[in-house]
Amino acid sequence: MNLAVAEAQGCALKAKDFSSGAHPIWCPGCGDFGVLAALERALALLGRPPHEVVLVSGIGCSSRLPGYMNCYGFHGVHGRALATATGLKLARPDLEVIALGGDGDGFSIGGNHFIHTCRRNVDMLYIVMDNRVYGMTKGQPSPTTESDWDSELIPGGSRLPPFNPVAMAVTAGATFVARGYSGDPQGLAELIVAGSKWPGFAFVEVLSPCVTFRPEEFEWKRKVRHDGVLVENDRGAAVSAALSDDGFSLGILFRGKGPRVDHQPPTTTLAAIEEQFLLPSPDMA
C-alpha cells in the first residue's frame, strides 16, 4: 500500500503518535533524522499501536533512536541488539519487535549475531543506519567504510574491502533483504512496512549519512538509485548482484525461504515433570 494513499484513507494512527518529543542528540543534518521520520510513518501505516511495538538497539548515535519514539524500547549494550531482540520476540511473539542500530554496532562488534540471526529467521525487523563510520566515538572506520577513507586512527585508509551487508545477509541465510536511504523517508517507510510484515527476519540496510565525520556522504543523495532488482530465492544470484552493485541501488533486493519458528503451547504440567524424580516408596517387608 502506498503511503500517500494510506494516509489519505485516514489510518487510525498518525506518525506523530509514535514521537516521544524528546530532542535527539544528533547533529543537525544527520541522516538518522530521516530514519526516525520514516519509522514513525511506517509504524502508523502498519497499524500496530505504540504499546505493541518494541525498538531494540545497541550503542551508537543511531542506537539512540528508541529514546525518541513513543513505544517500548530497549537501549542495550554495544553490538547485542539482535540477541536481545531475538530473546524478546521468542518470548513474546505477540509484539512487533524492531532491532536497529549502526554499522559498527551491527557489523563490527555485532557481526556474529548478525550472521546467526540471519540463519535463525525469527520474525522481526532489523534496520541498520549505515553511515560507514563509528559516529558516536567521533570518526573511526567501520566495517563498511571505504578502504581509502582517511582517519586519525588509520591515516590513508584501512585498505580493507568493505563489508557488504546485503551479500553477507543473503549468504548467511536471511529471507528478506532491502536497502533504503534516509533522504527518502517515504520510500524507506515502505521498505520498513514490507519488512515488518515479512513473516521472518527482515533486514533493511539504510544509507544514513554522518554529516559530521563523513561530510562527503552528502553526495549520496545524488548516488542513490531506485533500481534495486528483487531476486527471489536464488541466493547465489542475489549475492552476485550485491557484490557487483555499487551499493546505491535501493529497494527490496532479496526474498527467500527459511525456517519458521513457531510457538508451542504447553503440553504438560510441572507436577508431571517432577514425578520422574520421585523414588517409589520401598516396601519394607
Partner: protein, 575 residues
C-alpha cells in the same frame, strides 16, 4: 545396630561400563529405600576413556564425600594410575578384582587394602555368547555389591529396567543373567557388608543440575538462552524438552554474549528468563550483567563452577568464581549472588533466585559447582519451596509513568510491553527517572542509590543460609563445602568439641545481621572454601563481617573436601 553406610568405587577402562555399574547399584539401593550419592571421575579422553563411579549408600541422608572408600571394584585395571591418587583407600578397604585382568597395580596395592578375587565371567556363558553380547562384568559387579549389602534381587531388576528401558529383550536377558551371576558371586566372598534397614520417607533421585533446572521451572522461568559448556550442559540438556513442554523456549545461542542478551530481551518482555554457564562463559557475560543491573532487568544466571582460571579443568570442581560473581562488572554494579547448600537445595535456591530477580528486578547469580551439580543422589524429597516472588507491573493510574522513579519504594513498576500508556525504554546509560539518558551527577547518584536501596532492603528471613549447632567453633562455608563441613562438625560434636556450621545461601548482599547472629558466642571462626586466594574470607573481611582472628581453610580444587581433611586442618591450624 549394624552397618549404616557403604562407600564403593567401580572403576574400569573405556567401554567397561563402570558408570553403569555405579548407577545400577545406586538405583537399586535407592529403590530399596537407602539414601545415596554418586559422583564420577573421567580420564582425559573425550569419550570411552577410563572412568570411575564413586558411590555411597546409607540409611541416613548422605552428601559428604567419604574419607576413604570401603570397597573398590575393579572391572579392569587399565589406566588406573590416572585415578588412584583421587580415590582414598587404606588397609581397612577391600578390593574386588578379577585375576584375569592382571595383577593389582602398585598404586592400589600400596594402600594395603585386602584383595578378594572373583571371576566376572560366568562360566555358564559360552565364549561365543560372551563375544557376541559383551562381558557385562559391570552388571555383574553391581549385583555383587548390591547382594553384599543385602539388597533383594527385585530392586536390581527394577533398576535394570529403568536404566535399559528401550533395549532389546535379548540384551535385557543377557543382563539379567549377569545380575544373577553377580549375586551368586557375592555369596562366595568371605565378607558381609549388610546394611541396616532404611528409614521410610519420601525421596528423590536427582542431580544438583537437574534440581536447579527444576527450581527454575518452579520459579516460572520460561525462557533460557544458553551456550554449551561443561559442567553446565547437562542442566540445559535436561531442561530443554521440559521447558518446551511447558510452553517455554530454550535457545541455543551462538555464544554466551548472545545467550545473556537474549535472556535480558526475553525478561524485558515479561517472561522470567535464565542462562546457565560455567566460568569462561560467565566472564563473557559480565558486560550484560552490568546492563541488567543498570537497566533493572531481572535475570537468573547459574554458574556451575569448575576449576579455573581460564579453561582450567572443565570437568572438575572448584569454588573460585566467587570474586567474579560478586565483583565482575565494570562500574558500581552490585548484584545478588546465591549458593545452594545441597543437591536438593539447588531446587530451592534456584527457585528463590527467580523470585528475587523478579521482585528486585536485577540479575541474580547462582553459584553451583561441578561437585554438587553433577552428583546424582537419592535424597530427601526437596518439597520445601521459597515464598514466590513476582515482578511489580501495575502502575498508579492517573500519574504519568516513570520507569525509574525515585521514591520511597526503589522497586518501581516495570510494566510488560503491550501495556497501553506505559511505554518505557530499558536504559543502560545513566538516566533520569523517565529513563532518558542524562549525564548530571545528581541523576547518576539518584539512580545508583535507588539500585543500592533495592539490595539493602532485601530481607532474606530464614533464607539467608543455615546454621547447624551452637558450638564455639564455627565453620563458615557455602556450596559443596557444606556437606563435608557438616560431617566434620558432627564428628567433632561427638568428640565434645562443639562446632557449628554456617552455610551462606545469600552471599551478596551479605546478610550481615543473620551472620552476626549465627556467629554469636563463637570463639573461633574458620572459613572453608575451595579456591586458592580465600575469596569468601576476603569478601567477609571486606564487609567487616567476621572477627579479625578468622582463619582461612582454603585450597583450590579439584579434589573435594573430605571430613577428615577438615578435622585435621582444624587441629593443625590451631597448633
Amino acid at each position: 545396630m549394624g552397618r549404616t553406610s557403604l562407600s564403593v568405587v567401580f572403576a574400569g577402562s573405556g567401554g567397561s561400563g563402570a558408570m553403569t555399574a555405579g548407577q545400577l547399584f545406586l538405583q537399586a539401593a535407592a529403590a530399596a529405600g537407602y539414601y545415596g550419592i554418586m559422583t564420577q571421575l573421567f580420564g582425559a579422553q573425550v569419550r570411552g576413556g577410563e572412568s570411575a563411579a564413586l558411590v555411597q549408600v546409607s540409611t541416613e541422608p548422605v552428601e559428604s564425600p567419604p574419607d576413604r572408600y570401603e570397597l573398590f571394584v575393579a572391572i579392569d585395571w587399565e589406566k588406573i594410575d590416572q585415578f588412584a591418587p583421587e580415590i582414598p583407600l587404606d588397609d581397612g578397604s577391600i578390593v574386588i578384582c578379577d585375576p584375569a585382568a592382571g595383577q593389582v597395580p602398585a598404586a592400589i596395592a600400596k594402600s594395603k587394602a585386602r584383595v578378594l578375587t572373583v571371576s566376572f565371567d560366568d562360566p555358564a556363558v559360552t565364549r561365543l555368547e560372551r563375544a557376541l553380547r559383551g562381558r557385562r562384568a559391570n552388571v555383574c559387579a553391581a549385583a555383587l555389591v548390591a547382594t553384599l549389602i543385602g539388597l533383594p534381587s527385585r530392586h536390581l531388576d527394577s533398576a535394570l529396567i529403568k536404566l535399559l528401558g528401550k533395549k532389546s529383550a535379548e540384551v535385557f536377558e543377557a543382563n539379567k543373567r549377569a545380575l544373577k551371576y553377580g549375586a551368586q558371586l557375592a555369596k562366595t566372598l568371605p565378607v558381609t557388608l549388610a546394611l541396616d534397614d532404611a528409614a521410610p520417607g519420601e525421596r528423590w533421585f536427582i542431580s544438583g543440575n537437574r534440581a536447579a533446572a527444576l527450581g527454575a521451572l518452579r520459579g516460572g522461568v520460561r525462557f533460557v538462552g544458553c551456550y554449551p559448556i561443561t559442567p553446565a550442559t547437562d542442566l540445559v540438556e535436561w531442561l530443554a524438552p521440559h521447558i518446551r513442554e511447558l510452553g517455554g523456549n530454550l535457545v541455543l545461542a551462538e555464544d554466551e554474549l548472545a545467550a545473556i542478551n537474549m535472556v535480558l530481551g526475553a525478561s524485558y518482555g515479561g517472561i522470567p528468563a535464565m542462562t546457565v554457564t560455567a566460568g569462561p562463559g560467565l566472564s563473557l557475560m559480565t558486560e550484560a550483567i552490568g546492563l541488567g543491573v543498570a537497566a533493572e532487568i531481572p535475570a537468573v544466571i547459574i554458574d556451575v563452577m569448575r576449576a579455573g582460571p581460564s579453561t582450567g579443568i572443565a570437568s572438575k570442581t572448584e569454588q573460585s568464581d566467587l570474586n567474579i560473581a560478586i565483583y565482575g562488572s565494570h562500574g558500581d554494579a552490585p548484584r545478588i549472588v546465591l549458593a545452594p547448600t545441597s543437591i536438593g537445595d539447588c531446587a530451592y535456591t534456584t527457585e528463590w533466585a527467580v523470585g528475587l530477580a523478579e521482585t528486585i528486578q536485577t540479575p541474580v547469580l547462582v553459584l553451583s559447582d561441578q561437585a554438587m551439580g553433577q552428583a546424582s543422589g537419592a535424597i530427601p524429597a526437596p518439597t520445601r519451596r521459597p515464598s514466590p516472588g513476582k515482578r511489580r507491573t501495575e502502575t498508579k493510574a492517573g500519574e504519568p509513568f516513570k520507569r525509574y522513579a525515585i521514591g520511597s519504594d526503589p522497586n518501581t513498576p516495570m510494566p510488560r510491553p503491550g501495556t497501553e500508556g506505559c511505554e518505557w525504554v530499558a536504559e543502560g546509560l545513566t538516566h533520569n527517572e523517565a529513563g532518558l539518558p542524562v549525564s548530571a551527577a545528581a541523576a547518576h547518584a539518584a539512580q545508583i542509590n535507588k539500585r543500592a536501596k533495592k539490595l539493602a532492603q532485601i530481607d532474606p528471613g530464614a533464607d539467608w543460609g543455615e546454621c547447624w549447632g551452637d558450638g564455639d567453633t564455627a565453620i563458615i562455608t557455602f556450596g559443596s563445602g557444606v556437606a563435608p563441613a557438616r560431617e566434620a562438625a558432627i564428628r567433632r560434636n561427638k568428640a565434645g568439641q562443639a562446632t557449628r556450621v554456617i552455610a551462606l545461601r545469600l552471599l551478596s548482599p551479605l546478610p550481615r545481621k543473620a551472620l552476626r547472629d549465627a556467629l554469636e558466642g563463637t570463639r573461633r571462626v574458620v572459613v572453608l572454601e575451595q579456591n586458592h586466594t580465600g575469596q569468601l574470607l576476603q569478601y567477609l573481611r571486606a564487609n567487616d563481617a567476621v572477627p579479625a582472628s578468622t582463619e582461612s581453610m582454603a585450597r583450590p580444587g579439584p579434589l573435594p573436601f573430605r571430613p577428615a581433611e577438615i578435622l585435621s586442618r582444624l587441629i593443625e591450624e590451631r597448633a
